[in-house]
């Protein structure tokens, strides 16, 4: 069984699984114990927040509040629990610090991170609405299974940020985890929104970079491919799940007809009747199987959304590169103007040149003043270009570091997801074998 294979993972200290996941299915425990081990390792690798603090999204709760005048709104809040790791490792049972957060607050946090760390592949949030679902699965936001999967996803998001070498030491993030009140105000005070809007406008505008960084170009291309393949995969999987569901459920009809048939048989009756029960059980087993498979879909989905985050990093790099190029261009033309003015020659046709021709030579004073202004602008421009160059270089540098980190994380995560998926399929096969063996026993007794 999958559990057996994962035993070593479960044996090591798994703080996350300790008290929250008692009633969950095997697969969830397995997933979480994997998560716990994984994050623990991550925490050991760097001096991240996760080394000092244990973070869980312990539960979800439905709430109803007043939105506007007489308008009711129902929403889900999630309980964030944090505990100092030191205490947990020493085996003390510490009451966790707990606070409630809404999904929209998670969104706000992520937007803040996106703007503040443009060179980081910021982990995505779980989807707001269920996508790529097979038809039997509820797309209702309040569906308990959906809420549960979102809880796991949100926890995953926090753990990813908390284990990130840069973002884990962010003050706003720490505030988000530890203090319920006043957090939103603090976020808004950073003024990230204004920055976010101008950024967004700039990003949406079409621009062409003259000298793009080849690595980032490739990475952007990769993110596009990843996005398209994961969504293709998710769609195909949903259809497969749909069909598989059909195959199992139609077998359930045998249950009824065998039981009806058994009523008119003597020797065969008992065997048929109990075989019918096994067919019923077989048909019913698909519900759990596909529910488990949703976790796999969620893992793939995370990377679908990750591909967007990766793309954003590349786009932002392009933007700063573009800004650098325009500034440089501007500076170059100013320098040219200055040279022209200084030598009195006109190599290029310009409006200014026209006016000089039409209205005659300007006075030496005027020329002097214009030259001075240009010199000032050039100094300013050189400063900006220098700034932009460093910014761009920094972006390339830290961006590339983070992209490498992301790639490693992706390879590890997806490999793990495929292993889990394989185990899931194996467990489905074993269930199938078991049920058909049971049915066969009944048939052979007929």
């Amino acid at each position: 069984m999958a559990d057996a294979e994962r035993e070593d993972a479960a044996e090591t200290d798994t703080p996350n699984a300790s008290d929250t996941q008692e009633k969950n299915t095997n697969i969830t425990i397995q997933r979480i114990s994997f998560n716990a081990q994984f994050w623990k390792q991550m925490a050991e690798d760097g001096s991240t927040l996760l080394k000092r603090m244990e973070i869980t999204v312990a539960e979800a709760e439905k709430r109803t509040g007043k939105k506007a005048v007489n308008m009711q709104e129902t929403y889900t809040v999630y309980l964030l629990e944090t505990r100092p790791s030191a205490a947990v490792n020493e085996g003390q049972s510490v009451a966790p610090d707990a606070l409630w957060r809404r999904y929209s607050e998670f969104e706000l946090l992520r937007n803040y991170l996106l703007v503040t760390y443009p060179f980081i592949v910021v982990p995505p949030l779980p989807e707001k609405r269920a996508e790529f679902v097979w038809h039997k699965l509820s797309a209702d936001n309040m569906d308990p299974d959906f809420v549960e999967r979102r809880r796991v996803g949100l926890e995953n998001f926090l753990l990813r940020v908390a284990s990130h070498p840069v973002m884990s030491s962010d003050g706003i993030f720490y505030h988000f985890l530890t203090q319920e009140r006043g957090w939103k105000e603090v976020v808004y005070e950073t003024g990230f929104q204004a920055k976010a809007e101008s950024r967004l406008r700039a990003l949406n505008a079409t621009f062409r970079v003259k000298n793009p960084d080849k690595r980032f170009m490739e990475m952007k291309h990769y993110s596009d491919e990843l996005q398209s393949i994961t969504s293709q995969l998710l769609r195909a999987r949903a259809r497969v799940a749909d069909r598989l569901y059909g195959v199992y459920k139609v077998h359930g009809n045998y249950g009824r007809v065998f039981s009806e048939w058994s009523a008119i048989e003597k020797e065969m009756g008992d065997g048929l009747q109990s075989a019918g029960h096994h067919m019923d059980a077989y048909a019913a087993s698909i519900d759990d199987i596909l529910e488990e498979e949703e976790h796999y879909a969620d893992q793939i989905k995370e990377y679908l959304f990750f591909s967007e985050a990766l793309r954003a990093v590349c786009r932002k790099h392009e933007l700063s590169q573009y800004e650098l190029e325009t500034e440089s261009l501007d500076l170059a033309s100013k320098k040219q103007q200055r040279d022209e003015l200084a030598t009195g020659t006109m190599r290029t046709f310009s409006f200014k040149g026209m006016t000089t021709k039409l209205f005659g030579q300007e006075t030496a004073d005027q020329r002097e003043a214009r030259l001075k202004l240009l010199e000032e602008q050039i100094v300013e421009g050189e400063e900006t270009v220098r700034e932009k160059t460093t910014e761009c270089e920094e972006h390339v540098c830290s961006g590339w570091v983070d992209i490498q980190r992301f790639k490693e994380q992706k390879d590890r995560d997806l490999r793990e997801a495929f292993i889990n998926y394989a185990f899931m399929q194996m467990s489905m096969c074993r269930k199938g074998i078991q049920m058909w063996t049971n049915a066969k026993e009944c048939f052979s007794k007929m």
Partner: protein
């Protein structure tokens, strides 16, 4: 009624001798059949034909009612061990001539029965020969359940009659038909069956029998004369009810099976699209390439296993259901015939009761009629029990087989997924050691 005591029953001809002799001969030695059986070859057909009309040829049968009972019990023991006639249908061949195109099947017989001149035969027969045999059996053994033949016309020309699949399904059904006849204690001794298995030139024999056929037609008409049954004996009524419900359930099972095949086929289509997505993903990944290819290959393997399962279902499961639906029809026909014989008897009895004041002895033809009804009932009950037994075995086999096929399918998928686990894990260990 004197005739109501079965002890005085004169048995109705050579058929019953065969009935009785067979189990005995099967028990002791095949080589010592009753003399009657030994030299029937030429005359038995005629004798049998005369039977339904109530003109028994040989009334001095050694059979008594107690042996009738024995017969039932012995028949049940027949299965397996004491078989002395083995028939198989195989090797279908297509024949194309200017006139027509048809398929012949090789019919191979192995037997120790003395009715056959040789211990082994191997002949080619076509569908219409089987059809002729069945017709003959129905004519000459009206009191018995004749196993069904596969349907003559399949799905209004949708199916190619000469396609390999169609011919194979039909071959299986023909094989089943002959085996059922060969295993039957009475039918297997039928002369037409013997001829079918052994005659070099079946067509010549068929022409010979043509005159008799027309005679038969009339006699059937006579029996079918409209008469409303007073009351079916409970046990036969129960048989009818059983068959009705069973037909209905078989219909449902057939629909479910077809639906499953449809769902599985669609599932297969989706799997065939799903697997390759992994391999196109593998195309632009580095270290994930192997796991992705692994998953893709695994999905393809599972799809292959699924395809086999679906094929097995439509090739093996559905035809058996179909055969049973036809088998039920045959059974219903026999039940109807039984009702007719009973009706005839009741009609005569009524006529006698009408004339009862005249105090004449019960006319012999009424007695004969009663004999025939009793005989029919006994044959039918024996066939019914045999049929029930067969049905139980067939369905046990069919359903355990289906379960096996499903188990095998899951085992194949399980093996496929198990085989890629090391592929998924090993590399991970490698990268771990590389990084550390």
């Amino acid at each position: 009624m004197s005739a109501s005591t079965p002890k005085t029953l004169p048995t109705s001809g050579p058929k019953s001798i065969l009935d009785i002799c067979h189990p005995l001969s099967a028990e002791e030695s095949v080589r010592t059949p009753s003399p009657d059986v030994g030299n029937t070859t030429g005359s038995i057909g005629e004798k049998d034909l005369s039977l339904p009309n109530g003109t028994p040829v040989d009334t001095s049968s050694p059979a008594s009612s107690s042996s009738l009972l024995n017969r039932l019990q012995l028949d049940d023991d027949l299965d397996g061990e004491t078989r002395d006639l083995f028939v198989t249908v195989d090797d279908p061949k297509k024949h194309v001539s200017t006139m027509e195109t048809y398929i012949t099947y090789r019919v191979s017989t192995k037997t120790t029965r003395v009715e056959f001149d040789l211990p082994e035969y191997s002949l080619r027969r076509r569908y219409q020969d089987f059809d002729w045999l069945r017709l003959k059996l129905e004519e000459t053994q009206p009191t018995h359940l004749i196993p069904p033949l596969p349907e003559k016309f399949v799905m209004k020309g949708v199916v190619d009659r000469f396609s390999e699949e169609f011919v194979e399904v039909r071959r299986k059904a023909l094989d089943k038909f002959l085996k059922r006849v060969a295993d039957h204690p009475v039918l297997s001794f039928n002369e037409h069956f013997n001829v079918f298995l052994s005659a070099k030139d079946l067509n010549a024999y068929k022409k010979q029998g043509l005159a008799l056929l027309t005679k038969m037609g009339e006699s059937v008409k006579y029996v079918t004369g409209g008469y409303k049954l007073r009351g079916r004996p409970l046990e036969f009524a129960a048989m009818g009810d059983y068959l009705d419900v069973f037909t209905q359930k078989l219909g449902t099972i057939d629909r479910i099976a077809q639906r499953i095949i449809k769902e599985q086929t669609e599932y297969l289509v989706e799997l065939r699209e799903y697997g390759p997505v992994y391999s196109s993903w593998a195309g632009f990944e580095g270290s994930l390439q192997e796991p992705l290819e692994g998953v893709s290959g695994c999905v393809a393997n599972c799809a292959g296993a699924l395809e086999e399962l679906t094929e097995d279902m439509s090739d093996d499961f559905l035809p058996v259901l179909k055969e049973y639906v036809l088998y039920i029809e045959s059974m219903k026909t026999v039940l109807k015939k039984r009702d007719q014989v009973q009706a005839e008897y009741e009609g005569k009895l009524e006529a006698v009761a009408f004339r009862k004041e005249e105090r004449t002895a019960t006319p012999t033809d009424v007695e004969k009629c009663q004999d025939r009804a009793e005989c029919f009932n006994a044959d039918l009950k024996a066939d019914w029990d045999r049929w029930q037994n067969n049905k139980r075995q067939d369905f046990r086999q069919l359903l355990t087989g289906t379960a096996d096929k499903n188990i095998q399918y899951y085992e194949k998928c399980l093996a496929a997924w198990e085989s890629i686990i090391p592929l998924l894990q090993d590399r991970q260990e490698n990268t771990k050691t590389e990084t550390s």
